[in-house]
Amino acid sequence: MKKKIFVLIVQALCLATGFSQNPRWQMIDKTLIPARADLDVRWEAPTKTIPSKVWIYRLLPNNFSPEAISNVVMLCSFTTTNRIEQNTNGTAFQSPDGSRKLSISFPSAQIHYETPEPRLSPTNLAKEVPPMSQLPELTTNLLKQVNIPLSAVTGFFETDKFNFWQPLTMYYVSNTIITNIAFRAVNFRRTVDEIPIIACDGGSAYFGNYGKVSKLLITWHNFNRYKSSPTLKPQAIIQLLRQGKALQEPVPLDVGYIDWPTVKSVTIKEAKPCYFAGDTDWLYPFLWLDTNVDTGHGIVDVGIDCPIIDETKP
């Protein structure tokens, strides 16, 4: 008991002072997979996706270049007369009627633009929303204007460079369905050393009527390298899984849950390094595993997060 309380205090201090001796690579509500020495783990993933070493980074503010700020202000149809705030922490713009707002925050390295949702109806449909085919070009141009290199961007799934999507509205009028797309949107994540960042840097943009940006949210920090560490080999990663040092990602509702003590086997199909920041000032690496879990009742596709470096070393 005393030992645990001691650990507790150390962790609490880490919380208060930021990164210290024991950085966190996850802090979201995932399930710790229990230790099980006899867990049947099979590695079938290519290993070329795992670099020989990875870095820990410290996140820094981003003052964004004057050129990027100027471009964003124009993109959001503001002029200097709309500026309502400007100081060392950033700048903010607002339309005269208060409905459109743009804020650029240097400490949080964030650009945030919001417009009110347009009131659409069967007789007032969205106009000239760019087709999905135009979104790659629109997105590429947008990123250029904010000085974000395309090479530092990735999507969310295997085939993604960007994740494009659209909402769907259907009006039922006199037994007729009128379909309307109010906007089309893009989501993207940032990569560092070609490794995607989870829950921090990246962004999204909505393109609405006449192709105008109706919503923009970009987080893009500066950062410093802190230290590098060699990555673990597959056999070590399998051992960590068996030692209960990995986390299970959520599974769909129709799967229910994974009863790990009765799992027959885990087959690792893919291993991808990722960075996690969450609400900390640090980018810390971990390994995302795409696995097939034989639950004894069937095969379930389960995402597993585990350490990618030896975290017992300082």
Binding site: I28, D29, K30, L32, F157, T169, I177, I198, Q248, E311
Partner: protein, 709 residues
């Protein structure tokens, strides 16, 4: 105020043989503090009854008052201040004429060898606290799940934490929670802060896991001296409804004679009512108006300011609210001099004797034990009331008592932080609405799936079954347990209640019958807002044409009763209720519950699971995941908004809150597919807010948005 009785009856629990009350005392607020001899690592349930022997067989109908309360060691205490999260609510004992208690020992933690650790890291012991106090609780467990911490002040559970941070170092899970209390809502004395934590060995998805084994931790006690000029701020109603004639009595006691001002402030920081006065205490009866002008229902905060005036503490004058002194103004008075102690009545005896007569360790199982002052016992004896019948301890008119120890405040003025923060009081004027929630955890087979044969579709010429989710005739759909639905539902209920909603339906598993979901007679049609959490499936392929439902393709929901599953067709529902308490907004949270293609098919075939009273039906276009915070977010966003500070009231529309809640719940996850949520609704109601909504026109719209990534 009615008198209250404390009758303590100890019973043998599941494992412990020495379970007995050691004290039952009334606090200066007329809450009842129960103390009993306990055993390490046991978990207790506090039960109550308003009368004994009410059952036909002469037994007592005990009801659960508080559950899963972990042992504090060889002695455990708990404070009864009522339980307003139950349906119906259990009132504060000061509002109850009689209350009998018993403690059930629920047995030892199944994780007795690996209990979680928990500690209050801030403030530290013997801190002197003034005004708002921020408390940090940190819990740790090597078990897979920490299912939250709870903060207690003097044995009363506080509200959930303002913020929670979870993390792991790969071996141990941690949770750091931050709570806020307003110390002016207690007396100037030393108060005991402690926290509890529960861990689970179960393994699940995001919400946590089934409680295969559980463990509890209790932090060391942290004594903190509350020291304020303004003390014991209290409210007569947890929330109040002026339309039913209620008023809100706001009272406080001052450490010295003061000139005081009470400002009642709406969510936009406008002062809507002011009262002032002087004396050593205040009591203001708010009728919910602004000097007689009616105000809208909603959130109103109370701010008290006081300055010492140099008058003696005997001096008092009436309060006023922009006019003559309020007739309801009242001064405090001291309680009687003889203090409360424990008394006992042995089985088959009518003699009341001091409990202290019995030696330590004496088996008092079966005794009737209660707290009373000697004068009260004298009165009791004089009235020849048998100890076998109800014994009343009249504490009426006791009012406020001076500070018991230490406290006091040397400050000459104080601007009290926002109140109320202390449970069960809410900053609500008027009843916002009525809501219900029901869910199925599909756990009849323990950790194994429950399998459902495809729905028979006898008119289907080729297969005779409706194909769903790409399953075809001869196959069964497996549905895994969804135990995470319970904590999701609990957090939703707690948040909705905080914002002034009344919960009249809270059903799970076998309490939820398929017949109660079919047709217009569903109980959900008698609440304003309903939530149904289930597994879902959608018909696909040619064999999905549902000949029972006008040949449409639609959605289906498995409903369990014990180990059996029956299918509920979406088309069998008739959602929507008339009148003030009628159903306007309904969530069916299940995979594909609003699959857009089949929803269109239903519309095309004129198959409508709603009537003209329903405003919105919310659900999922695609598969979804259980997100811990999804429903808590939704309640928070549509009742208050997305901001975390109290001054930024900006509630989202019900539809926008649904999307935003999901986006935030799934943020930072690495999921294998995108998730799209959907809202179908009357075109006039798509932008309904909880407080302002439009009358349905009969023309419907379907709307969906990707919420992950």
């Amino acid at each position: 105020m009615a008198g209250a009785l404390v009758l303590a009856l100890a019973i043998n629990g599941l494992a412990q043989t020495n379970l007995q009350f050691t004290a039952a005392t009334s606090t200066d607020e007329q809450a009842i503090r129960l103390t009993w001899a306990s055993t390490n690592n046991e978990v207790y349930q506090i039960q109550f009854a308003n009368a004994l022997a009410t059952n036909a067989d002469g037994s007592t109908a005990w009801q659960i008052l508080y559950d899963r309360y972990p042992s504090q060691g060889t002695n455990t205490f708990w404070l009864d201040t009522g339980n307003y999260n139950l349906a119906p609510a259990v009132m504060h004992p000061k509002n109850s004429a009689l209350r009998f208690y018993r403690i059930l020992d629920e047995g030892q933690d199944s994780l007795v060898s690996d209990e979680p650790t928990v500690s209050v890291t801030s403030p530290t012991s013997d801190t002197v606290a003034t005004g708002e106090l921020t408390i940090t609780v940190v819990a740790a467990s090597d078990q897979p799940v920490i299912s939250g911490t709870k903060l207690y002040v003097d044995g009363q559970e506080m509200r959930p934490p303002d913020s929670t941070t979870n993390w792991t170092d790969g071996v141990t899970n941690y949770e750091a929670d931050t709570y806020s209390i307003n110390t002016c809502e207690w007396g100037n004395e030393t108060h005991t802060l402690f926290a509890t934590a529960e861990c689970q060995s179960g393994f699940g998805d995001t919400v946590g896991a089934p409680p295969v084994m559980t463990g509890h931790g209790v932090s060391p006690f942290v004594p903190v001296l509350f020291s304020n000029l303004v003390t014991r701020i209290s409210f007569s109603q947890p929330s109040f409804d002026p339309s039913s004639g209620q008023t809100q009595q706001v009272s406080a006691v001052f450490a010295a004679n003061c000139n005081w001002t009470l400002n009642i402030v709406d969510v936009y920081s406008n002062v809507v009512q002011t009262a002032s006065g002087s004396g050593t205490s205040m009591l203001y009866n708010w009728d919910g108006t602004s000097n007689g002008t009616n105000l809208p229902n909603g959130i109103y905060y109370y701010y008290i300011n006081a300055q010492t005036n140099g008058e003696s503490s005997d001096f008092a004058s009436g309060g006023s609210s922009s006019g003559p002194p309020s007739s309801s103004f009242a001064r405090s008075s001291a309680v009687g001099s003889d203090s409360s102690e424990l008394w006992a009545v042995a089985p088959d005896s009518e003699s009341v004797v001091p409990l202290a007569l019995y030696p330590p360790g004496f088996d008092t199982n079966g005794f009737t034990i209660f707290a009373a002052s000697p004068s009260q016992i004298q009165a009791l004896r004089a009235s020849s009331v048998s100890s076998r019948t109800s014994v009343a301890m009249d504490r009426g008119g006791s009012g406020f008592t001076p500070a018991a120890s230490g406290g006091g405040s040397s400050a000459s003025s104080q601007n009290v932080p926002v109140t109320p923060l202390r449970p069960p009081n809410n900053p609500i004027r008027g009843l916002v609405g009525i809501f219900g929630i029901a869910y199925d955890t599909y756990s009849a087979n323990g950790t194994n799936d429950m399998n459902a044969p495809l729905l028979n579709n006898s008119s289907q010429p080729s297969t005779g079954h409706i194909s769903m989710n790409n399953y075809t005739a001869g196959q069964q759909l497996p549905f895994g347990p969804l135990l995470p639905f319970k904590p999701v539902a609990d957090s939703f209920v707690a948040n909705m209640k905080y914002w002034g909603w009344n919960n009249t339906i809270n059903e799970a598993d076998n309490q939820l019958s398929i017949s109660s979901l079919r047709g217009s007679g569903t109980p959900f049609n008698n609440v304003n807002l309903g939530v149904l959490m289930l597994h879902g499936a959608y018909g696909n392929g040619q064999n999905a044409i549902d000949y029972v439902a006008n040949g449409c393709k639609q959605m289906y929901f498995p409903i369990t009763f014990g180990g059996n599953i029956q299918w509920l067709r979406l088309s069998e529902m008739n959602l929507g209720g008339m009148g003030t308490n009628g159903l306007k907004w309904m969530v069916i949270y299940a995979c594909n519950s609003l699959y857009h293609a089949n929803w269109s098919s239903m519309q095309n075939k004129g198959v409508k699971p709603y009537n003209g009273n329903l405003h919105l039906l919310l659900g999922c276009d695609t598969s979804s995941y259980s997100g811990t915070s999804l429903f808590w977010n939704w309640s928070q966003y549509m009742n208050f908004g997305t901001a975390t500070n109290r001054g930024s009231y900006n509630p989202l529309t019900i539809r926008a809150a649904w999307y935003q809640a999901a986006k935030d719940a799934f943020h930072g996850k690495s999921l294998s597919g995108s998730i799209t949520f959907a809202v179908a609704g009357d075109s006039a109601c798509m932008d309904d807010l909880l407080k302002t909504n439009n009358t349905p026109t009969g023309s419907w719209t379907y709307d969906s948005q990707q919420v992950y990534p």
